[in-house]
């Protein structure tokens, strides 16, 4: 059982996990600041892929430029999403409601509603089938290393996740925007008292998180050869699970857990059947939570 095919299976698992990880990075960032599950992140992922695809079919620019287009649309989508689904629920700025934070969290459902609307609209405009992608843009060029086969997309996704993770850490620790994001995440009232523009910071978080999501959508869409309106849902659920499994408090933790989920799926396929892969992944989740009630990388148990 433990032969070169098993090693190949680990490579496959790693690449599945990296896809979940790409999505989980932006997801966790937004969760960190607003502390709410953004159900529409999957739709931002989809918008990124579609924006890139439109650029490819209309202008046929080099891949780098396509990524820039997805980036721009992701930023725009993040801004719009914050405006529509999140801003209206922060209507009270007085200390009491900011401290109760109650108003913010209805956004769980408003983002769900927005995601339904956006997905249905995309289905109306583009049809719900998979879009045809020009072959030369697909990230499926085989690369053989010894007996193992890779695709160029796998390396790109691997590189991208390192860049995203590293870039995000740098952004959060060494730039003004990042510092204010961390301040707002920690204590919005305190941040407001010391003169940080919390509104603008929240918008910045959405823009950054959605940009990451949109790029992830484009690259994964090109790598899987599948761009369609409902593409964000399945990896979105997995990214959500990975985030919670990682303990909510750590982007790195979410990435590690995403890799665990991907590995679990690939190895289950190897030993049992692909159908049971999801079962094993979720079993991992439940077992993890039983032994680490606040996730693998979460801190000690805090009061709600």
């Amino acid at each position: 059982m433990f032969d070169v095919f098993f090693v190949q299976q680990l490579v496959n698992g790693l690449s599945i996990g990296l896809i979940y990880a790409l999505m989980a990075i932006g997801f966790t960032l937004i969760f960190g600041v607003l502390n709410v599950v953004n159900f529409a992140h999957g739709e931002v992922y989809m918008i990124g892929a579609f924006a890139g695809l439109l650029a490819i079919t209309q202008l046929a620019p080099p891949l780098f430029a396509v990524i820039l287009v997805a980036l721009a649309f992701g930023a725009l989508a993040g801004f719009g999403l914050e405006r529509i689904a999140f801003r209206p629920f922060r209507r009270f700025r007085d200390e009491a409601s900011l401290k109760s934070k109650a108003i913010r969290e209805a956004t769980l459902l408003s983002s769900l509603a927005v995601s339904i609307i956006v997905r249905e609209l995309a289905e109306k405009i583009f049809g719900s089938n998979m879009q045809s992608i020009p072959q030369e843009y697909l990230l499926l060029k085989p690369i053989e290393i010894g007996p193992l086969s890779f695709a160029n997309g796998q390396f790109l996704i691997f590189g991208l996740s390192i860049v995203m993770l590293g870039g995000l850490q740098w952004l959060l620790k060494h730039t003004r925007v990042g510092l204010s994001i961390r301040a707002v995440a920690n204590n919005p009232m305190g941040a407001a008292y010391v003169g940080i523009n919390t509104e603008r910071t929240i918008i910045a978080t959405f823009v950054i998180g959605s940009t990451l999501g949109a790029i992830a959508g484009l690259i994964v869409g090109l790598y899987q050869g599948a761009i369609f309106p409902a593409m964000g849902f399945a990896p979105g659920v997995k990214a959500f699970v990975a985030m919670v499994m990682g303990g909510l408090s750590s982007i790195g933790g979410a990435v590690v857990c995403a890799l665990i989920l991907g590995m679990a799926e690939a190895i289950t396929t190897s030993f049992f059947a692909q159908g049971w892969g999801d079962l094993v992944a979720y079993l991992f989740l439940v077992i993890t939570l039983v032994f680490f009630p606040t996730g693998l990388f979460g801190g000690g148990r805090e009061r709600v």
Binding site: E105, L112, S249, S250, Y282, R301
Partner: protein
């Protein structure tokens, strides 16, 4: 006295007026829609006990609904049990599964519990789909006998309607009594502050498990009703998206409120049917209705407790922690 009157009006409406009106407009169609709404009312009311009253957000309710449906379908097709046996057995089996599956997750709080139930729901769905020898997998189970009793009544729209309506009324009665009693107060105490409740001498874990068991019982019965009234089930009917639908019904109707749960089911299942004339755009309208109901009615239509405060508790975990997000380590 006033209570008596309102209850008799309700009974009259559900058992006489509604079926009368439905027959008058000549509708197997509207009977069918009402039956579906009835099944989802039971589901939403039961989920409401966990999420609205006890304050544990469950994202795996469709899985338990599925266990009930499959138990009923297998008993009715393989062992030829009549409905008055399959439905309670389905409820009990689901409740047992609910307890067994929920036991390890009971010490989880907030979003961790929500995600653990999501995982459980998906585990159930994947098992139904892939355990082909037992559940027939994606083939589903067909030719499930309808609700009939030899010599008394046979399977028809009216029988289906009355079966669902009576069980929904019973569920409303039982869940209503549970919620509006000292016991319900204890559950609410757990929702508001579980540590405080424990320090007052409440058995918090016990209460959570009990409410989970009650809710799963009714979810199982609802699944059984779905199997009997539809005649064919397959794993696709019990996906994660159904759990989200149930959650959305609860929120639109108002968390913690039993009439609200029914109203949520009526809106989210009735609206797509009423909107059939506008064709392909109807789901967009449903999404918009959801959005605006959250925007303007944060407590839901008939909510006992604001959805915000429950959701806040669910997702408030990371916010309040002193150890904060990854980038600050």
């Amino acid at each position: 006295m006033r209570r008596l009157i309102s209850i008799s009006i309700l009974l009259l409406a559900v058992l006489l007026v509604l079926p009368g009106v439905l027959s008058a407009v000549g509708g197997g169609y509207w009977f069918r829609v009402t039956t579906t709404i009835g099944v989802f009312s039971i589901l939403t009311m039961s989920a409401n006990l966990i999420t609205g009253t006890t304050g544990l957000m469950s994202l795996g309710h469709a899985g338990f609904y599925g266990i009930g449906a499959y138990t009923t379908a297998l008993l009715a097709t393989k062992l030829h049990w009549p409905f008055f046996l399959t439905l309670p057995v389905a409820g009990v089996v689901t409740a047992v599964f609910g307890i067994l599956l929920a036991l390890p997750t009971m010490r989880l709080i907030g979003i961790y519990f929500a995600v653990a139930t999501l995982g459980l729901g998906e585990i159930i769905h994947v098992t139904l789909l892939n355990w082909v020898d037992f559940t027939r997998g994606p083939m589903g189970i067909s030719a499930i006998p309808g609700i009939s009793l030899d010599g008394l009544f046979s399977a028809s729209d009216i029988t289906n309607y009355y079966a669902v309506a009576i069980i929904a009324l019973l569920a409303a009665l039982v869940l209503g009594r549970l919620t509006h009693s000292y016991y319900g107060n204890a559950l609410r105490a757990v929702r508001e502050d579980d540590q405080c409740a424990a320090s007052m001498g409440l058995n918090v874990v016990g209460l959570k498990i009990q409410s989970f068991a009650f809710a799963c019982f009714f979810a199982g019965v609802a699944g059984g009703l779905w199997a009997h009234t539809t005649g064919y089930i397959s794993p696709g009917d019990f996906r994660f998206s159904e759990s989200i639908l149930i959650l959305a019904m609860m929120v639109v109707g108002g968390l913690g409120s039993i009439p609200g749960a029914v109203l949520g089911a009526v809106i989210l299942l009735g609206l797509p049917e009423v909107l059939r004339p506008i064709g392909d755009y109807r789901m967009i309208v449903v999404g918009a209705v959801m959005f605006f109901s959250i925007l303007f009615l944060p407590r839901g239509l008939l909510g006992e407790t604001s959805v915000l405060s429950v959701v806040r508790r669910q997702f408030g975990l990371a916010w309040d922690r002193t150890l904060n997000l990854g980038w600050r380590q």
